[in-house]
Amino acid sequence: MNTSTAHAPAHSTASAHGADHGHHEHHEPGFWQKYIFSTDHKVIGIQYAVTSLLFLLFGFLLMMAMRWQLAYPGKPIPVIGHALQAALGDDMANNGVMQADLYNVFGAMHGTIMVFLAIVPILFGAFGNYVTPLQIGAPDMAFPRLNMASYHLYFLGGIVMLASFFIPGGAAKSGWTSYSPLATINDPVHVINGQTLWLIGMVLLITSSLLGAVNFITTIIQMRAKGMTWMRLPFFVWAQFVTAFLLLLAFPPLEAAGIMQLVDNLLKTSFFLPSGLVVNGQQLAVSGGGSPLLWQHLFWFLAHPEVYVLILPAMGIVSEVIANNTRKPLWGYKSLVYATLSIGFLAFIVWAHHMYLTGMGTRISTFFQTTTMMISIPSVIILTALFISLWGGSIRFNTPMLFALAFLPMFGIGGLTGLPLGFNASDIILHDSYYVIAHFHYVVAPGTIFGVFAGLYFWYPKATGRMMNETLGKIHFAGSLLFMNMIFAPMFIQGLHGMSRRMYDGGSTYFGSGVGLDQHILNLNISITHAAAGLGFFQLFFIFNFFSSLVWGKRVTSDNPWQATTLDWQTPTPPPHGNFTTEPVAFRGPYEYSVPGAKTDFTPQNQAG
């Protein structure tokens, strides 16, 4: 087993591939074949990465415009205000001032884009696609053409969502949750309205995710290399595996709900419209007899598992980075795996904790409160195991590791502040306030997004053959950490003082009417908006670093620059079509770092003996 000595052949392949990409036996595929209609999981992974990062930026820019309105209600939005008026009309941005409708549109689309077009695709589509087959020692996904179809459907779904901004009446404006009846009645003027396109877009995105999930699970079950037993899988793969099951089983009910809402909107049925619904003082001319709560149940049956889709892969990334940079095995690998599996199971029976205020009755509330407390246990296990993994390690503080380290307390804050939302007594007060916004953003913004950055800095050299700049990376990290907290920590305070979410003037109407809330709570809106601008500014370092490193980044001198153990690093750089030059075989577990008696402080999985 000569190939298993990871870096011996590496020098040659790394440099050889710099000049000569895609070195394989078939004739060189053309541009379309190679970059647009590729079936190579790595190209598809990169397609997902680029597209979803653009959506992440777009979702952030929507929020910047909203933040301006929150801080300075009624003042024209600088720079883009008049462009918005020209593009979207006076109803949306009169004189460059964000109107209530536009705030609703941007709010709903910020949530939708961030969740379904940015975070899930980057975690699952990009990292999952690029890294999973490499880590299990597979030549590609089990169904490469299906993989391509997944990306194309995702892309199409994104186009539909973007197009919806420009149709008469504007994009969806009933929140990312699209609660009925609001979602059905709020634009009666236009038959095909933003909500219609939102639903069509969602059906495309859901189909894409379902195909992806089938593909990932099949790949992990069927394509593991020789010797790659279940308990030798890197934790990242486990996280992807459970994520895929969540998508597979939780999305279809939302697809069903989406179809029903579409039928409600287009064929005037009443799946979600109760009898006797009065809109603008007139009884709605529909048959009635439907149930608004049905929508909420179906929506949250997806949307709770979805939050684990947003976090588990990030935990997977962070675990890989932590093991690699502490030069120690992960502490409690097996408990991590079992905890993840328990989350995967419990995630399906907690959804109604989003519905405590609907008057479900105390018994049902109690049931969901109990399961919610139960699911916090495996989450705490994972976080604890990762913290303990740091203990006694000789930690390398490179950029990926800094992001991974920051992930832990940030996710910790997000998770712990979720507990009061899980108890129905306290949730009754906190529900729909900025406390909720702060809570879940701690999970998905400084949590998941830091996981994403950790992963991007970590696997960038594998995908490109060049390192990203460390200094720029550290500046990016420091600025992001500071401003993320300056954005989201004050929102807890605002929420505890009773500030509601989804208010287009940031609540100034309420504050102004003398209900007894302090002016300084309102003023926090201004500092938060400044911090959001600061966050945006520090992302410029990342964007610059990302592109400039393609050209000027330090070339890797080895295929395994981080001296990692998992199979993804035992490939040429970047890995060719088919990934491995010789068939990989796993002889050991994924994290054999600092094994006493070994020659180096890492023993790759494919090293025999």
Partner: protein, 333 residues
């Protein structure tokens, strides 16, 4: 580069890739239809008290055509049997036999869809007429009356359209936007407004006679029309039959066909059966593709074709299974 286990099973799992894939896909399909069935239960349990059609939102019972539904169930079950026999024929190496069984399967599939469209059309031409006094009747329009009405209405529309076309031609020369032409009416989807447009004063209906099945034992059938004539309660008509009635439009609140917007029951009935129908169509196209274009692959990679047929067959069984749940739930219960 070769993807492993596309044809031969992986030794430790005993499965080839597509088989794992299809089972996972079916799991997600179970969740899809599971959500719809759950919605059905929730909507039905939550339906307001009272009986359709008197209470517009009550849950209509027994409005579907059970004999036809039963026949369609048999058609689909037969196709599920033949799809297995087609696969077995391939396993035995007999392509001609495979083709025969597969074509039979596809014929069953399209018969199912044809029969279903007939049923849909039945519903689109069946009406509920709600009176201003809160009562309601269901039934069809009298054949002669309807054709008289349609002829008159469509002739008028043709005349109007001729005028509109002329005006539009002129408008085009002057660069103005053309006006939309009127479309023809048919016996489907008629409404009170459409009768109103033609200045009809009353409509002649064949009112359904409430049968014992429609109104469970012990339940009084809803009053029909003005309720004054005993004969209208079915003394002269067989249950399931009809009696004639002239309905004055001045007394009518609304006229609606049995379409999704008319009642939540129809909404979920049409949604579920249409989604199922799409699955039947998709499955039939794939199976038909194997039957008619499978020969080439049969000669090159027989095992691969056999696997594909097996996987498509699993899907087909699933589609069948969904119907076996749908039929009792929407037709019988």
């Amino acid at each position: 580069m070769e993807i492993p286990y596309t044809v031969k099973p992986r030794p430790d799992t005993g499965l080839y890739n597509a088989k794992v894939g299809i089972w996972l896909f079916l799991a997600s399909e179970v969740m899809l239809f599971g959500a719809l069935f759950s919605s059905y239960i929730l909507l039905r349990v939550g339906a307001p008290d009272g009986f359709w059609p008197d209470v517009s939102t009550g849950w209509p019972h027994g409005l579907l055509n059970i004999p036809i539904g039963t026949f369609n169930t048999a058609v689909l079950i037969a196709s599920s049997v033949t799809v297995v026999m087609a696969w077995a024929a391939l396993k035995a190496g007999n392509f001609a036999k495979f083709k025969g069984f597969m074509i039979f399967t596809v014929i069953c599939a399209f018969s199912f869809l044809g029969i279903k469209s007939y049923e849909y059309n039945e519903k689109f031409t069946h009406y509920v007429v709600r009176m201003k006094d809160g009562t309601a009747v269901t039934g069809h329009f009298d054949h002669e009356f309807l054709h008289g009405f349609l002829d008159k209405a469509n002739t008028r529309r043709d005349q109007k359209n001729a005028g509109l076309r002329e005006a539009n031609a002129k408008a085009k020369q002057e660069g103005k936007a053309p006006k939309e032409l009127l479309s023809h009416l048919s016996n489907r989807f008629l409404t009170l407004e459409k009768f109103g447009e033609e200045n009809v004063e009353s409509v002649k209906m064949l009112v359904d006679v409430p049968s014992a099945f429609r109104y469970p034992v012990g339940m009084k059938p809803p009053a029909v029309g003005d309720g004054s004539k005993g004969s209208e309660h079915g003394e002269h008509a067989e249950p399931g039959g009809h009696f004639e009635k002239e309905v004055k439009l001045a007394d009518v609140q609304s006229i609606a066909a049995f379409i999704p917007s008319t009642a939540t029951f129809f909404a979920i009935y049409f949604t579920m059966t249409a989604l199922h129908g799409l699955h039947v169509l998709g499955g039939a196209l794939v199976l038909g593709y194997f039957a008619f274009f499978g020969r080439k692959m049969w000669h090159q990679e027989p095992e691969r074709l056999t696997n594909r047929v097996e996987v498509a067959g699993l899907f087909w069984h699933f589609v069948d299974l969904v119907w076996i749940f749908l039929f009792p739930v929407v037709y019988l219960l």
